[in-house]
Symmetry: C2
Subunit: 93 residues, 2 copies
Amino acid sequence: MSKEPNTVYIGRKPTMSYVLAVITSFNSSDTKEVTLKARGRAITTAVDVAEIVNNRFMKDLTVGEIAIGTEEIQQEEGGTRNVSTIEISLTRG
Amino acid sequence: MSKEPNTVYIGRKPTMSYVLAVITSFNSSDTKEVTLKARGRAITTAVDVAEIVNNRFMKDLTVGEIAIGTEEIQQEEGGTRNVSTIEISLTRG
């Protein structure tokens, strides 16, 4: 019953496994929007995923809002460090 | 006489050298807008630069449009491969 758009968290797996996750997410439900979220080095992968899904697999997609931000990460050895984040919204319409 | 906004190309140098380039670009001219451009692995660095300039050095900046894309790269061994790109616009206002 959630109205929240589907979210795919991008990590260290191969790019194509996230491409598949996005396509599955669009096809398994009636969703019109999937959001990619990534931080740190995975930001590049998130952009790759958005571009590959868009250009190769689902040409009816539109890249919507792209937001960047900063998160504070607790380090095991104490203290915090900042890591950049990105959110890329993909919409079908 | 160019009206084009200043552009900082992000590559493999340390993040802080691009942070400095952005701040210098804003301060050395009367520009209201600086665009960061990056591709491939440097995309993460571009997001880091935008966030660091914004949060630590120039709090009056706004992150404007963020655009992603794909470029075809000619490979030395022949053929092409695709690489993702990002453009992040920073405006002072």
